[in-house]
C-alpha cells in the first residue's frame, strides 16, 4: 500500500506536469486526489498498532534500499501531511484567479512536495530520509519562488534553499556518523548509542533539524518565505515541511536521547526559538509575518519537548504537533482569505472584519484560542500536558523546560490576543471582495477540528498514546485529560492566560515600529559571502583558458608519480643494448628540443619528421621491423599533412610571456621526470622471459605465417584490429568532411 500510494502520487504529478497548460486551475483539483486517498488510508489505520513497512532494493551491493515504515506516530504525520494537503489543494483552487499565470506548474510542484514529504515521514532508512529531506528543500524553493518575476520572491527562495539544503548536508554528515556507531541504517532498529562519534553525529543531526524547523539562529528564511502564495505558507511553512526537523528529532530520540549533547543542543535551540519567535510575532505588523514568527516559536516548543525525551513530554509534543498543524493551518488560510478579499495583510489597515467576515472571524477565534491554549480546544490539552511534563522533570532541566513552556505560553497568548484584536477588532472599515467558498471551507474544517479533537479526547488518547510510547521507548503513556481538575497545572494555565491576554491587549496598540531583522542581517551576510566565495572559486577554476587547464592537469598528474619514488630501482636497468640506442636517444631528444625552438612552422614540420625517423630507427635497432616500416609511413603522412594544414601560415609562432613559459617548462619537466620515475619503478618487477620458441612454432603451425607480429595482429587480436580499421575509417570521413568544409571559407576568413 505504501509503495502504491507513492506511485499514485508520482503518476499524478507527472500527469499534472505534462498537462499543466491544458488543465490550468483544474489541475489543483486533480492534484487533490492522491492526498485525499492517502489521508483516508491513514485515517483507517489510526489506532492500528501494527507497523506496516515496505522496501525497494536500490543498490543491493551497497546495502542501499528505499525502506519505508508506517507506525503509530508516522501514521499521525501522514494524516497531517495528506489531510491538510487535500484541504490546501481545494483552498488553492479558490485562492488563485482562474487566469493566474503558472497554476498548472504550481499544482504539479505542490504535489511533488506532498510526495517528498510523505517519503520523508515514511522513510525508515536514513538514506531515503535524506533523499526526501533534500527533495522537500528543493520543492520548497520552487514554491517560494513561484512568482518567478518577483525579485523578493527569488531572494527569499534562494535564502530558504541555502539554509535548508545546507542544513541537509550537515544532517547527512551527522547521519553517517550516527549510523556508523549504531551499526544500522534503519531508524526503527537503532539502539541507544554512545561514544565520541555518536556524540558529534548527534550535534550535526540536531543542527540539520534546526535549519529545517527554522530554529534560532537559522530562522530568518521562514519569515522571508512568507512571500510565497498563502497555500504554500499554510502547507509547507506551518503544517508540514517545517515539521520535518521536529519529526527527525522525534524519531531519532530513542537512539540519541541518552547523549547529553543531544538534549543540550535541543533545549538550547528550542528555548531560544520559543522566545525569539514569540517576540518577533509581537512586533510585526503584517498578519502573515505574525503567524510565521509564531510558527518559529511553536516549533521551538516542539523541539524542546521532544528533546526532553520523557514519555510525558513526548505525549505533550505529539498532541501539540497535531494541534499546531490544525490551528496554524486554519489561521494561515484565514489570513490568505483576508489577503485575497481585502488586498492587504497589514494589521493597521484592517478593521471591522468581525462583522464583515463572520465565518472567517469565528474560525480564527477558534483556532486562536487553541493556539493560546484555552479550553475547550485541543491546544488547551496540549499545553496542560506540556506543563505537566515540565513539572515532572528534576534538576536544572526542570527549570529550563518549565521556564520555556510557561513563559513561552504567556507570550503565545499575548501574540494571539494581539493578532485577533488587531485583525478582527475595531479599526478602519475594510472594503472586501466577494466571498469564495473554496477559500472558507478548508479553513473552517481545520478550525473546527480543534474543537472536535477536544470533544473526542477519548478515542484520540488511543491514537496519540501509542505514538508517544513509540517515541519515548516507553511501554505505557499516561492519558490526556479533558479537564485536569483543580490542580497546580490548571492554576498555572489560568495565570498564563490572564497574563498573556492583558499583555497582548496592551501591546496591540502600542508597538508601532517594525523590528530590525538582527538574525536576517547575519544570514544575509553569510549567504552573500557564500555566493562571493562560489563566484571567486569558479572564476579561478573555470577561467576558460585551455593552456592553463592543461598545465594544471599535467602538474597534478606529475605529482601523482610521487608515491612511486620509493620504488625506483635501477637493478634491472641497463645503459643500452647497443651504443647505437644512446646515439638515437640523443638524436630524438635533439630533434624534439629543436622542434620546440624553431620559429617557423615549416622548420617545425621538418624537425617533427626528423624525430619520427629517429624513432623508426630505434625500432629497427630493437628488432621491430614492422614498427619501423609503419612509423616511417605514418611520419611521412603527418609531415605532409602538417605542411598542408599550416604551410600557408607564413607567420612564426606567437610570442609568449617569459614567466608563463617558465611555468610551462617546469610542469613539462616534472611530467617527463614523472614518466621516467614510473617506468623505472615498473622495471623493478621484470617480466618472465617470453615463450619465444612456442610462439614461433604456433605462429607457423596454427597462424600460418612466419611473421609472429603479423600473426598476433591478424589472427589472435583480429577483432581489435578490425576495430582499429573502423577508427581509421571514421577519422578519414571526419578529415574529409572538415577539408570539404574549409573549401568554402566563412566569416572573416581570408
Amino acid at each position: 500500500m505504501i509503495l502504491g500510494l507513492l506511485v499514485l502520487h508520482v503518476a499524478v504529478c507527472v500527469l499534472l506536469a505534462a498537462t499543466s497548460r491544458r488543465l490550468g486551475r483544474n489541475g489543483l483539483l486533480v492534484g487533490a486526489v492522491p492526498p485525499a486517498v492517502t489521508a483516508v488510508w491513514a485515517a483507517t489505520r489510526l489506532g492500528d498498532h501494527q507497523p506496516e513497512s515496505a522496501d525497494v532494493a536500490w543498490v543491493p551491493g551497497l546495502d542501499l534500499a528505499m525502506t519505508f515504515r508506517v507506525d503509530a506516530f508516522v501514521d499521525i504525520m501522514t494524516l497531517i501531511v495528506s489531510g491538510i494537503g487535500f484541504g490546501v489543494f481545494v483552498y488553492a483552487y479558490g485562492y488563485f484567479a482562474p487566469s493566474a499565470a503558472g497554476i498548472g506548474r504550481f499544482a504539479a510542484t505542490l504535489l511533488a512536495f506532498s510526495t517528498a514529504m510523505l517519503g520523508l515521514v515514511w522513510a525508515d532508512s536514513v538514506w531515503s530520509l535524506f533523499v526526501f529531506w533534500e527533495l522537500t528543500s528543493v520543492t520548497s524553493f520552487l514554491l517560494i519562488g513561484h512568482k518567478n518575476t518577483d525579485k523578493p520572491a527569488q531572494v527569499a527562495a534562494r535564502q530558504a534553499l541555502m539554509i535548508t539544503a545546507g542544513g541537509g548536508l550537515v544532517l547527512l554528515a551527522g547521519l553517517l556518523l550516527v549510523t556508523r556507531s549504531a551499526g544500522t541504517t534503519l531508524i526503527s532498529e537503532m539502539m541507544p548509542v554512545d561514544g565520541a562519534t555518536a556524540t558529534f553525529g548527534a550535534v550535526l543531526v540536531m543542527v540539520g533539524a534546526a535549519t529545517k524547523s527554522a530554529q534560532v539562529p537559522f530562522h530568518p528564511w521562514l519569515p522571508s518565505a512568507m512571500v510565497a502564495p498563502t497555500p504554500v505558507s499554510a502547507y509547507l511553512h506551518s503544517a508540514t515541511m517545517v515539521k520535518a526537523g521536529v519529526v527527525l528529532v522525534a524519531v531519532m530520540g530513542p537512539a540519541l536521547g541518552g547523549l547529553p549533547t543531544w538534549k543540550a543542543c535541543g533545549l538550547a535551540f528550542g528555548v531560544a526559538s520559543v522566545f525569539w519567535g514569540a517576540i518577533g510575532a509581537l512586533r510585526h505588523r503584517d498578519a502573515k509575518l505574525v503567524l510565521a514568527w509564531g510558527t518559529v516559536s511553536q516549533l521551538g516548543m516542539l523541539i524542546t519537548l521532544f528533546s526532553v525525551g520523557t514519555a510525558k513530554a513526548a505525549l505533550a509534543a505529539v498532541t501539540l504537533l497535531v494541534a499546531h498543524a490544525l490551528f496554524k493551518g486554519a489561521l494561515f488560510l484565514v489570513v490568505g482569505e483576508i489577503d485575497v478579499r481585502a488586498r492587504t495583510r497589514n494589521i493597521d489597515e484592517l478593521g471591522g472584519l468581525a462583522r464583515s467576515m463572520p465565518i472567517a472571524c469565528t474560525v480564527a477565534v477558534l483556532a486562536g484560542l487553541s493556539m493560546a491554549g484555552a479550553p475547550p480546544l485541543l491546544g488547551f490539552v496540549a499545553k496542560e500536558a506540556a506543563i505537566k511534563a515540565a513539572l515532572a522533570l528534576e534538576g536544572p532541566e526542570a527549570w529550563i523546560v518549565g521556564f520555556g513552556v510557561i513563559a513561552g505560553s504567556v507570550l503565545t497568548v499575548a501574540y494571539t490576543a494581539r493578532f485577533l484584536v488587531t485583525v478582527f477588532g475595531p479599526g478602519p472599515e475594510t472594503a472586501l471582495a466577494a466571498r469564495r467558498h473554496a477559500l472558507s471551507l478548508p479553513a473552517a474544517v481545520l478550525g473546527l477540528a480543534g474543537l472536535v479533537g477536544y470533544a473526542a479526547l477519548g478515542p484520540l488518547n488511543g491514537v496519540l498514546g501509542p505514538a508517544a510510547a513509540r517515541l519515548a521507548g516507553a511501554a505505557e503513556v499516561s492519558d490526556l485529560h479533558r479537564w485536569p481538575g483543580l490542580t497546580l497545572d490548571l492554576g498555572i494555565s489560568a495565570i498564563v492566560l490572564a497574563l498573556g491576554a492583558s499583555l497582548g491587549l496592551v501591546l496591540s496598540r502600542r508597538l508601532g515600529r517594525v523590528p530590525v531583522e538582527y538574525g536576517a542581517r547575519w544570514t544575509d551576510a553569510s549567504i552573500e559571502a557564500t555566493m562571493t566565495f562560489g563566484r571567486a572559486t569558479s572564476a579561478r577554476l573555470q577561467h576558460g583558458s585551455l593552456p592553463v587547464y592543461l598545465v594544471t592537469m599535467a602538474g597534478t598528474a606529475a605529482l601523482a608519480a610521487l608515491p612511486f619514488l620509493g620504488y625506483v630501482s635501477f637493478d634491472h636497468v641497463v645503459a643500452w643494448d647497443t651504443p647505437l640506442q644512446a646515439v638515437l636517444a640523443v638524436a630524438i631528444i635533439g630533434a624534439a628540443v629543436a622542434l620546440s625552438f624553431v620559429g617557423t612552422r615549416l622548420a617545425a614540420g621538418l624537425a617533427l619528421g626528423a624525430a619520427g625517423i629517429a624513432v623508426a630507427a630505434v625500432f629497427v635497432v630493437h628488432g621491430a621491423a614492422d614498427l619501423a616500416l609503419t612509423q616511417l609511413l605514418v611520419e611521412a603522412a603527418i609531415v605532409v599533412g602538417f605542411v598542408l594544414a599550416f604551410g600557408h601560415l607564413s607567420r612564426s609562432f606567437p610570442r609568449v610571456g617569459l614567466r608563463w613559459r617558465a611555468v610551462r617548462m617546469t610542469v613539462a619537466g616534472l611530467g617527463g621526470a614523472a614518466v621516467v620515475v614510473g617506468l623505472a619503478a615498473a622495471s623493478r618487477s621484470p617480466v618472465a622471459a617470453p615463450p619465444l620458441t612456442e610462439m614461433a612454432t604456433a605462429s607457423v603451425d596454427e597462424g600460418g605465417g612466419s611473421n609472429i607480429v603479423n600473426v598476433i595482429l591478424t589472427d589472435i587480436r583480429a577483432l581489435d584490429t578490425l576495430g582499429e580499421v573502423l577508427v581509421l575509417a571514421t577519422v578519414a570521413l571526419g578529415v574529409l568532411a572538415l577539408a570539404r568544409a574549409s573549401d568554402r571559407p566563412e566569416g572573416s576568413a581570408s
Binding site: 563566484r535 576558460g544 636497468v573 620546440s596 614498427l627 599550416f646 609568449v656 610551462r664 617506468l679 576568413a749
Partner: protein
C-alpha cells in the same frame, strides 16, 4: 629496461607537454605527436631487450625480440596517427574560419570569471 630509451621517453614527454600547453594549434599538434612517440618508445622499451626481428625461420627463437609488445605498439602508432590527422584537419578548419591557429579562451567562461582573474597567464595575453 633500457636506460637510453628511458631518457628518450622522458625527453619526448617533457617537450611534448611543453608544446601542448601552448596556444598555437600547430604546436599542440606537434606536441601531441611527440607524446605519441614517447608512448610507443616506452612500450617497446618496457617489452624487453633488443633482438632479432621475430620472424620464424629467419632467426633462432632465443635471439628474437619479444613480439607481443610490438603488436601492441603497432596499434598505438596507428591510433595516434589517426588522431593526429584529425587534429590537423580541425586546425586547418580553425584557420579557415579565424584566419589564425590560436586557441581562444572560452568566452562563456571568461564572462563568468570576470576580466582580471586568469591565474598566471596574463603575460601570454599581453604578448599576443
Amino acid at each position: 629496461m633500457n636506460g637510453a630509451l628511458l631518457i628518450a621517453v622522458g625527453g619526448l614527454t617533457a617537450v611534448g607537454l611543453y608544446l601542448v600547453t601552448g596556444r598555437s594549434l600547430s604546436r599542440i599538434v606537434l606536441g601531441y605527436s611527440l607524446l605519441g612517440h614517447a608512448t610507443v618508445v616506452a612500450l617497446i622499451a618496457a617489452g624487453g631487450p633488443a633482438g632479432r626481428p621475430p620472424i620464424a625461420g629467419q632467426a633462432e627463437p632465443e635471439a628474437m625480440a619479444n613480439p607481443l609488445p610490438q603488436a601492441l605498439t603497432l596499434t598505438a602508432i596507428v591510433i595516434s596517427f589517426g588522431l593526429t590527422l584529425f587534429l590537423l584537419a580541425l586546425a586547418r578548419r580553425q584557420r579557415t574560419i579565424t584566419g589564425d591557429d590560436l586557441v581562444e579562451d572560452d568566452l562563456e567562461d571568461r564572462r563568468i570569471a570576470g576580466p582580471d582573474s586568469l591565474p598566471g597567464e596574463q603575460e601570454d595575453q599581453a604578448a599576443t
